[in-house]
Symmetry: C2
Subunit: 264 residues, 2 copies
DNA sequence: CTCAATTTGTTCGTATGTATG
DNA sequence: ACATACATACGAACAAATTGA
């Protein structure tokens, strides 16, 4: 019995409990309509004081996940959360489809004062870059923050469109620009205070960090992007047999109710 | 001037500052040997009291990242952390290579009391499953926790090997078992108290959660795995032009030196 | 309708940790 | 180092609402 692994102090105990119980609800362990165990029992299970349990429940009630009624008990009102996942693109075509129609919000635009971080393996840097910082928003929820370094020569061809539109389609529209390499690396991080504020998530909330670069035929890196996604927005589907990720499948698979396809 | 986005209360202020400054060190903004700004300046920058800065610095000193000397200043001693990434496999072959030689530590073995969660799109469930819970360890560091649900009929063919070896190679060795589908979905989460304890990471540390399933030719789901990785161990490389991920590239690409399996 | 049992809600006192000046 | 203020957490007691006998 008692708490399995409640740590002391970094996060207040009652919030840890809230996290724990929130998970039980979202996982379905406590389905909608369930009456939670009485506070007395929760005290026993978690080995904490009455008030602490009560605080945790108050937090969940504030989120409209439960209702507490004197003399009756505490009931689950929120069902398992339905999240709208964003399937991360893993091919150029899928990437184009994914960002189609996106209108990024420009936060910051600067000349190439600060060069992007480019490793030698990625290619050699362009003579100058234009730096942009943008926020992508869906349903009024900001879900990713992009720092783009774009070859100054490309930017200057269509400065206005580069400022207001997504850059990748623009590049691929230019017939004389050959895209020889386009790669990205995904890692997992957590939100520092600045990112937390801009993405409107708590500090240290999990994030997906994508480093993307594009090189032309001469090996010159014409585009670099460092993207930070909200962790709870990102999903990546991988078909192990197909030899690689299949984002098309991924996008339909979840909400669309499309059948799986084993053709290649 | 003042803090960009220091949130109030969920995490103590001095720990938020420690996180922030720890990042500056690991990112290279404050390289090894640097003398940090005087406390007075840090007070101004973050807009907090002297003692709070001091608390944050004490935390970093405890981690051997800095040294504080009275009358001289605070100096960075720890360099940017060198992480040994584990490239997540995105094809069957890469997956085989990745888990080659792995000896999982069995935590729990049970009969198929609890069925795995299988969506209709994945296939129809087997009559019975064997449930295993395992921990994977590398250099004495646990980096992932796996819950495996294996078709009882397959388990019974080689119970001993199933207990002690990785399951996937076993399955692919069985000539009469046809693997028709093998897919996995990666999402990002954070460690609940139980997982945090087993992976030895702080509560709410970011994690990568992989749901993997294998179906045979008849559409029967013979294997389901729910895997939780430490977020700081996972990296995923994607070649946008190649049409899919290229994990082989991934393993070598990063810090050149560290290979997947090196012995001490 | 009353009584008792159950269950949530509130308050008091105390102790500790956090943050300021 | 000190004084102050606030949040967290505990234990204990008491209040209020609901239910069923």
């Amino acid at each position: 019995m008692s708490a399995p692994g409640l740590s002391r102090s970094p996060i207040p105990l009652y919030l840890q409990l809230a996290i724990l119980m929130r998970r039980r609800i979202s996982v379905g362990e406590w389905p909608k309509g369930t009456r939670l165990p009485a506070i007395e029992e929760l005290m026993k299970e978690f080995g904490v004081a009455r008030v602490t349990i009560s605080q945790a429940l108050a937090e969940l009630e504030r989120e409209n996940l439960i209702i507490r009624k004197q003399g009756r008990g505490t009931f689950v009102t929120g069902s398992a959360e339905e999240r709208h996942w964003l399937a991360l693109a893993t091919s150029w075509d899928a990437l184009m489809r994914m960002i189609e129609g996106t209108r990024p919000r420009l936060l910051h635009l600067a000349d190439g004062v600060r060069p992007p971080r480019i490793s030698e393996k990625e290619g050699h840097p362009a003579p100058a870059y234009r730096h942009m910082k943008r926020l992508h928003v869906k349903n009024d929820v900001p879900y990713c923050l992009i720092e783009i370094y774009l070859d100054q020569r490309i930017f200057d061809r269509a400065p206005e469109r580069c400022r207001t539109e997504t850059v990748l389609p623009l590049i691929s529209e230019m017939p004389d620009v050959q895209i020889a390499r386009a790669q990205q690396t995904l890692t997992i991080g957590s939100a520092d205070p600045e990112i937390a504020e801009q993405l409107q998530i708590p500090i240290n909330a999990p994030t997906a960090e994508v480093h993307r670069f594009i090189a032309d035929a001469s090996g010159c890196v014409i585009y670099v992007a460092d993207i930070v996604y909200r962790g709870d927005f990102i999903r990546l589907d991988i078909d192990l047999l197909g030899g690689g990720a299949q984002p098309t499948l991924a996008e339909n698979q979840y909400q669309g109710g499309t059948r799986a396809n084993d053709h290649t």
